[in-house]
Amino acid sequence: MAATPNAFWQRILGIDRRWIFVLVGLGTMLPLLFPVNLPVATSPRVQAAYDAIEAVPEGSIVLMSLDYEPDIMAELQPMSVAVLRHCFRRNLKPVILTLYPAGPRLVERALAVAAAAEGKKRYDDYVFLGYKSGNQAVILGLGENIRGLFPTDFYGVRTDSIPMMQKVNSYADFPLLINLSGSSIADYYIRIGASRYHRPMILGSTAVMATDYYPYLSSRQILGLIGGMKGAAEYERLMGIVGDARRGMDAQSLVHVIVVLLVLLGNVALFATGGLKPRIGGGA
């Protein structure tokens, strides 16, 4: 006997969630295996971040804090590579640190990719200070005595002996502060580095965090904001490169479409089975 339409929609409502997992898995895998290279529109916030780096005089030393761990590297690692490449391409010299204990290896990887792509060398073109515990205390300390806070760099070389580091010792010596972060560390940099020490700052964050920082953009406490993989993809587009973010956007697009279709299907099924009785107000 053929199933009634109502029975069909009931089956849809009771679908095993493993089928949804399979759909999401395929939606992620297929675009990565067969890239479509969908277009990426640039938002004003990412354009502003790009322009802020463009505005820094060539040869300047900029401060970069890359504060994330592997859990969110899909969003922030491509961003780090793109921003580092932009700095290198403009002959800016980044001084890099991380406030996360599992961050140094990711920073090393990003530096290896960006430096190789732009032909830059450690100590001549960049310095990696490594990890320092203390979050707020470190961010405050950067305004006083960086070489005291980091007596040696990540590789054990005394910072006093590095020519690039001899030119900088506090926020005041950097024309730009760049923070790519997946946590509230960004708030501390805004409060201390940007607001207290009046350093121009650009911020990169995960997509879910990005909207928290919009008020700081309109107050000009940060000059630009790169949000999530989408922001990183926009930055790559501005740089004219195809990195992990642009490749990942195809997968993210398809998974978003799948989620939207699932939500619509769920609502149609609920409506068809009489479970959805539209009313004004009241609880969900």
Binding site: V24, R105, G134, V257
Partner: protein
């Protein structure tokens, strides 16, 4: 017995607030010294946390409690990585670096990426247009989900500007209100602790 901690809290809190607003060199030097103290405190907290972690898991292994095998793995990892890190360093060519690249990074990324699967399943079951408010939320979420990814612009040129408006106007207004509320709440809580009105940090209500 309670006067000492309350006085130290008041003195530290009041001094740090004052220093924040005093640009004089002496104030800044005082701040540098206090920052060094904070660094020492953080280091001891790390040591204390590691010892606490070790003791907690060691007890579980000794008593063969539930999940003791995982505690054994934790103890071996804690001891092994700490020893190797101190002896060899943590750079890319070291054993810790290789462990990080081949174990820690993929595991952490995998754990986080599982969220996408559960969010998709939860959205299918929970995102229902049951009333006007829920419908508004549903429509906004769909516009944002489609408009914020590359395919949005491909489907309709109006998606990106629409999402920008949603982010720049309703979202920004709400975020500002929340930020101001959180700020005022933080000031009020800090003042209550500094002035000794809130003493819950002493371990009693």
């Amino acid at each position: 017995m309670r006067f000492g901690p309350i006085f130290v809290t008041f003195l530290t809190g009041a001094t740090l607030i004052a220093i924040f607003f005093i640009p004089h060199r002496a104030a800044q030097q005082t701040q540098s010294v206090i920052l060094e103290w904070a660094d020492v405190v953080y280091t001891f907290a790390l040591i204390l946390g590691s010892i606490s972690l070790w003791m907690s898991h060691q007890k579980k292994v000794q008593q063969r409690g539930e999940g003791w095998i995982y505690s054994t793995v934790t103890l071996i990892a804690l001891a092994g990585v700490t020893t190797l890190g101190v002896v060899q360093g943590v750079g890319g060519d070291t054993i810790v670096g290789k462990l990080y690249d081949s174990v820690n990074a993929p595991l952490a990324s995998t754990m986080f990426s599982l969220l996408a699967f559960f969010i998709a399943s939860a959205a299918f079951r929970a995102f229902r247009a049951r009333n006007v408010e829920a419908t508004l939320l549903l429509v906004t979420a769909i516009v944002m989900m489609i408009g914020r990814v590359s395919i949005g612009e491909f489907l309709w040129k109006g998606f990106p500007p629409l999402t920008e408006w949603l982010l720049d106007v309703p979202n920004l207004a709400a975020k500002r209100a929340v930020a101001i509320g959180v700020g005022l709440g933080a000031i009020s809580t800090a003042l209550k602790i500094i002035l000794g009105i809130d003493r819950s940090y002493l371990g009693r209500s």
